[in-house]
């Protein structure tokens, strides 16, 4: 589907809007003011149909694939946008691949319009035992839960894996918000106390685990995309700074030691971009597709965290202040490294898959 659309044009439209709506000053100011999301930005994004990007056309979406979603998430990373897009993209994927027709009809249009804004539990974050009528338990540290309208949680019923989709307003459900160092996102710990479960809240996992793999694949691609956006943006603004800041009567960008570090960062990001494009072009349920996605997540989130770390140093004193943007990127990059799969978990999985191949 994606090949009917020029992804680079898509990129441009993402970047253009975000440059206007979420410029550097807003990003820096938001980081100081806090909040669980940028409500107005989410609204604009929804109105522009970005939330509908991967929703099948029959449900009012654009029907694009993970490669298009990757571009969107990269653009959001590039401005450290405080919008909970990851849960939306993953839920669309889950619903489109595993939900019943009724569920699709109910949720996909709401997802497309941005009015349903789900937080998606980390695959490795534990699961809930569901009896036939209700569910109780605690799931810790769900990304964006404090600003979600719905939660998508891992569950088990009658010994079968499933997902439960619950409105945040469900009776017996509460969310404790955890502010983060990365102020562009939040985590929430969800407590369920005898929350009633209707059949329509449950999405069953197909026998073949394809959907589970698909979700791992996609979350890896999307976090890697977010990080790549961060890396490219923070390096670009650092280069910009190196070209104007003077010390010892010279623009500091003329110092060779700094040049070489910047050149290495650039090289790493050029490679990361190719890796991400390739990984997001592969069949996600093919083991090769899966290994490349996980591998890309581990590699790109690490490379970018390191680039962002050095960009603070390259800024010197102002990099240490909350008044310049690099810290916003560093904090977000570090969080991406830890989200969903830590580096060590990811590499263990890559090794498993390589050995099994």
């Amino acid at each position: 589907m994606s090949d009917t659309i020029d992804l680079d044009l898509l990129d441009e439209s993402f970047s253009e809007l975000l440059a206007t709506e979420w410029p550097r000053e807003r990003s820096v100011a938001y980081a100081q003011s806090g909040g669980s999301m940028a409500v107005d930005l989410w609204q604009q994004i929804s109105e522009l149909g970005w939330t509908a990007l991967t929703v099948p056309e029959s449900f009012g979406g654009l029907g694009l694939g993970i490669d298009a979603a990757s571009r969107l998430h990269r653009a959001l990373g590039a401005v450290a946008a405080p919008v909970p897009m990851l849960g939306t993209t993953l839920t669309i994927l889950l619903v489109a691949h595993a939900a019943s027709d009724r569920q699709r009809a109910a949720w996909l249009p709401m997802l497309a319009s941005g009015s349903m804004r789900p937080a998606f539990a980390q695959p490795s974050g534990g699961w809930l035992e569901i009896d036939d009528e209700s569910v109780s338990g605690v799931i810790a540290d769900i990304l964006d839960a404090p600003c979600a309208t719905h939660l998508v949680l891992n569950g088990r019923r009658r010994d079968k894996a499933c997902w439960i989709v619950l409105p945040i307003s469900a009776s017996g459900l509460s969310v404790e918000a955890h502010p983060l160092n990365d102020t562009s996102r939040t985590l929430g710990t969800v407590t369920l106390s005898h929350v009633s479960i209707v059949e329509d809240a449950i999405v069953l996992q197909p026998e073949d685990r394809q959907v589970a793999d698909l979700l791992v694949h996609s979350s890896c691609i999307l976090l890697a995309s977010d990080s790549l956006g961060i890396g490219e943006a923070v390096l670009a603004l650092t280069i910009e700074y190196l070209k104007i800041r003077e010390q010892f009567g010279k623009v500091i960008g003329s110092f060779q030691a700094l040049k070489h570090r910047v050149a290495d960062h650039k090289t790493a990001l050029v490679g990361a971009r190719e890796l991400l494009a390739y990984a997001s072009s592969l069949d996600p349920v093919d083991p090769a597709g899966l290994v490349h996605a996980i591998s890309a997540k581990a590699h790109i989130t690490r490379v970018v965290a390191e680039v962002a770390r050095d960009c603070i140093q390259l800024h010197g004193g102002v990099g240490f202040t909350a008044e310049f943007q690099p810290h916003v990127f560093l904090k977000r990059a570090k969080l991406n490294e830890a989200l969903y799969l830590t580096r060590n978990e990811a590499l263990d999985r890559v090794a498993d898959l390589l050995e099994a191949a």
Partner: protein, 400 residues
Amino acid sequence: MSRTFDILSKVGDEAAFRQEIRDWLAVAMPRNWRNEWQGLENETLKPKMVAWLEERRKVGLATPHWPKEWGGPGLPFGYQIIVYEELTRADAPELHMYMVSLFQTPATLFEHGSPTQKEKYLSGITHGTDIWCQGFSEPGAGSDLAALRTSARREGDHYVVNGQKIWSSGAMNAQFCLLLARTEQNVKRKHEGISYFIMDMKAPGVEVRPIRSITGEQEFCEIFMDDVKISAENLIGAEGDGWNIAQSTLSAERGLLIFGGTERLARSFERDRVDGKDSWMRDSQMRREYAAFHAELQVIRLLIRKLLKELEANPDKVSPTLPTFIKLTWGPFLQRYTEFLVRAEGIQAHKWKAPIPATAHTSRIKFTDFLKSYAWTIAGGSNEIMRNIVAERYLGLPRT
């Protein structure tokens, strides 16, 4: 308190001296201060810090490294080290608001201050609670400090100062500022024509703007000076001799100040292992990464002990070489180790927690400690400058 403490009288018997400090700390140290001080900002924190300084003053340890002449206890160097070791061991709060007052100001005034200046200002520190700040860096003069442009124009018995300073730690709390300003514009070398002043922070025309750092704390400030009058009596040393005098100020950052920081880290390093014993210490890779830091921590501690020995042997003439290597070792090590801890803690490390003041680089809030490590790689001459110095001055490679 059931007994009085006479720590200073134990000089001559190291063990007794040490024990007396321990006994004193056991009762005098603020209870549960890490929890109680967490998240406090300057206004609410200040009285607590003053109270702690007062406790120290009672036993003669407000200024442990000061000579008797200026109101200090006049401890032999080895005993000064013991004081700092014991403060660290007990995890006593750092007097970070008083850093400049306790270190930079005396390092400057002992050597270069006039008798009147010493009398007037040093007692304000030993017997009062005067807070000092340092006004050296400027927006256009960071690594290149000598490029400073703040001007001080002589008019009769005073100077009129105009300009802007930045990265002034604690300036929002300070009564006085160690100020570098240019008294002569037309100089051959930019290091010339700089003079050194004591500026009253309450003087008309002084404005302070706190800057929030990436940890969320307000630690340093910009200082704007608009026709600020400074009496000529507050010129330190001779006019134009500011650059030389500033070297004394800067040398205060060496030695005991950094010693406290690394010893605190050494204790924290032990606790990290214990805290991680049921989680990341069970992962053989993380365990090895941790073990590898043992050598690095040891290296920095040894370099600092070596410096202390040099200082003890010859307090006034320490070679600049060792402090440069210390800075190049300590900052990057601290950054990598705290980054490791962030990774080790996983997602938990990313949850925001209010900073704990007075803990230097070992608040044990991993992400904050990681962010704060930049203070050592950026401030006080960035590590890029330090590498130039090593290559050019110590290894003799030609200037570019």
